[in-house]
């Protein structure tokens, strides 16, 4: 079965029907719907399952065609037969996060109490809540422990949260380009994005679903600003320089004269077709609230005390959103906790987005780590 065949790997399940989800904000969420994709098959002792945690604007379609855009999965280069996340060997699970907009319960889904979309009535969620929801999925699938939990950016935050809160459910963890807490600068960028959405008159206090008007311009601006933080100065210069877009001369106006402007506009416009503005508000907030230091009275190492999980932390030299220094805080805490940890800073000018791209040193690192983890898990004969 091709990992890219659309739809065939896509599932949806109602979870928490008996034990409702208790959120960090104090609200109890009744049954939640979780949309997820799977690739490969679960082995007899259910020891070969890997959970992929997606980033802020990602979704469950890690290796299948995204139904709205028609594009290949966002981690197609990692997942598939013979690839690093080999679907002939592993059972890969990727779920849309709680608060998302691709089928998992979130602000755009119907509130059973009102029969209308939640909008801002949706409770504030945290990275911890996203992982709690994924725990329900793990139980539903009958998997006692993931062979590995892997994720970049916000996916890395979920990976850390998994390892800290449910160490016995995680055999190995690969947090990529992330941090144990969101920095002031990152919160600041998120606030710019949220303000752009909320300043759009079409946002209508978050209650825009029935009106037929969506805050697309606000969301597009939010995406444009955020997209700059995913790249690096060097990558922008390499890709665009000061090149002009389909013209010989400056127009002395506010058209997209420069290629970089045109590129950002394209990123913004495409994004609004596949993403819900309220989801963007809720998920960025969840990232802002993430702080494993404070959760552990300022001592990050105590989050991982006694852990048996094997860790592989990867950072990128040109990532200024989640710089190496913040990834190293995780590594130092793991060392202090006497955890089994590997750490590589990959030299690249591709910025934060390097984890989504063909970055050979990252691929080799993850491949080597997974293969040795598979040997200690007894997955390789």
């Amino acid at each position: 079965m091709s990992a890219s065949s659309p739809g065939s790997d896509s599932h949806s399940v109602l979870l928490g029907t008996e034990t409702p989800l208790q959120l960090d904000c104090g609200v109890t969420l009744g049954a939640i719907r979780m949309a997820y994709c799977t690739y490969g098959s679960l082995n007899a002792d259910k020891s070969n399952a890997i959970l992929i945690c997606h980033a802020l604007t990602g979704d469950q379609f890690a290796a299948s065609r995204q139904p709205l855009t028609g594009k290949d999965g966002w981690w197609d280069l990692m997942i598939g037969p013979g690839k690093i996340l080999d679907t002939d060997k592993y059972f890969i699970v990727c779920s849309n996060v709680l608060g998302g907009c691709m089928g998992t319960t979130g602000p755009s889904e119907t509130d059973p109490k009102t029969g209308k979309p939640y909008g801002l009535n949706f409770p504030i969620i945290t990275i911890g809540d996203m992982v709690r929801a994924q725990v329900l999925l793990q139980d539903y699938l009958g998997i006692e422990s993931w062979f590995s939990v892997i994720g970049g950016s916000m996916g890395g935050m979920q990976t850390l949260q998994w390892a800290a809160a449910y160490p016995e459910r995680v055999f190995s963890a690969i947090p990529i380009a992330c941090a144990a807490r969101h920095s002031a600068q990152n919160i600041a960028f998120h606030e710019v994005g949220r303000q752009a959405v909320m300043a759009d008159p079409n946002w209508q206090g978050g209650d825009y679903y029935a009106s037929g008007r969506k805050p697309t311009s606000g969301l597009a601006v939010a995406r444009m600003a955020a997209h700059i933080t995913y790249l690096s100065e060097a990558a922008l210069h390499r890709k665009f320089g000061r090149n002009l877009q389909d013209r010989e001369n400056l127009t002395y106006g506010f058209d997209a004269d420069f290629q970089v402007e045109s590129y950002l506009r394209y990123q913004g416009i495409n994004f609004v077709d596949r993403f819900d503005a309220n989801s963007y508000l809720y998920i960025t907030r969840a990232m802002d609230y993430f702080d494993l230091f404070t959760d552990n009275n300022g001592n990050l190492a105590s989050a991982f005390e006694g852990t048996k999980t094997r860790f592989c932390v990867v950072s990128f030299s040109s990532d200024w959103l989640f710089p190496t220094s913040e990834n190293k805080q995780i590594v130092h805490a793991l060392i202090t906790a006497a955890a089994n940890v590997s750490f590589v800073e990959v030299e690249t000018d591709k910025g934060h987005d390097a984890f989504l791209l063909d970055t050979p040193e990252m691929l080799k690192t993850i491949d080597g780590f997974l293969q040795s983890s598979a040997r200690s898990r007894g997955l390789v004969s």
Binding site: L77, G82, K83, I84, D86, R310, C312, K328, V331, H332, I335, T336, A338, N340, V341, S342, F343, V344, E345, V346, E347, E361, L363, K364, T365, D367, G368, F369, Q371, S372, R375
Partner: protein, 212 residues
């Protein structure tokens, strides 16, 4: 994409590594500080089934280690050893790395805090060829094992066999064992007090522990 660069241990591993491998007890916990591309760690894992970890400065070295399945962290002996808990390893190994650190004495103390024992190997700068090179040519010695010119060498804190034993005395460190190798890689002495060893010895390996 799935093809990892397969690890190919050199047929003749360094003599100091062979000796280190003889010293290390099976199944022990080992930290190799400055583990380079992981050859010693891989050798110890293979032959002694140790639970091995590494710390390495170069990205290239770390990448080779991790893609070969070794648990290695990219970091610096001078700044990153402080994160390791007390007594977390049976052996903390520093093979031919001491002379590259900014604060060798601090690194040595860290090793003995982290490991119940420290195994340290280093080139003896009082080796007669170094002495004669400097005395006769008046230039910084370059030998077969020290083959990088002064302006490029990572070795910033050379010491002699005598310097090292003096440092051990100063830091109140117990020398459990010492092995001095000659230029052919043979054990020429096990006495770290010998002036003969300080003159003809090219490499030194020490097993150290805390006195109290």
């Amino acid at each position: 994409m799935n093809e990892t660069a397969k690890f190919e241990p050199k047929r003749d591993i360094r003599v100091d590594w062979q000796l280190i491998a003889e010293i290390v007890a099976p199944e022990s916990r080992v930290l190799d500080v400055g583990c380079d591309d992981g050859q010693l760690l891989a050798h110890l894992t293979e032959t002694k089934n140790v639970d091995g970890r590494g710390l390495e400065l170069s990205q290239q070295g770390v990448n080779i280690c991790v893609s070969n399945g070794l648990s290695v962290v990219q970091g610096n002996a001078d700044t990153d050893l402080i994160y390791y808990p007390d007594d977390s390893f049976d052996y903390a190994i520093l093979s031919k790395t001491l002379q590259t650190t900014h604060q060798p004495h601090v690194v040595l103390q860290q090793l003995l805090r982290i490991g119940r024992r420290a195994i340290v190997s280093f080139p003896n700068f009082a080796y007669w060829r170094c002495r004669s090179y400097l005395a006769l040519k008046g230039r910084m010695p370059m030998t077969n094992s020290l083959d990088v010119p002064w302006y490029e060498t990572p070795n910033i804190h050379f010491c002699t066999l005598r310097d090292f034993t003096a440092l051990c005395a100063h830091l109140d460190v117990h020398i459990e064992k010492s092995v001095i190798l000659d230029a052919s890689g043979k054990v020429m002495s096990q006495s770290h007090d010998s002036a003969f060893a300080n003159f003809f010895g090219i490499d030194c390996i020490f097993i150290l522990s805390r006195k109290s």
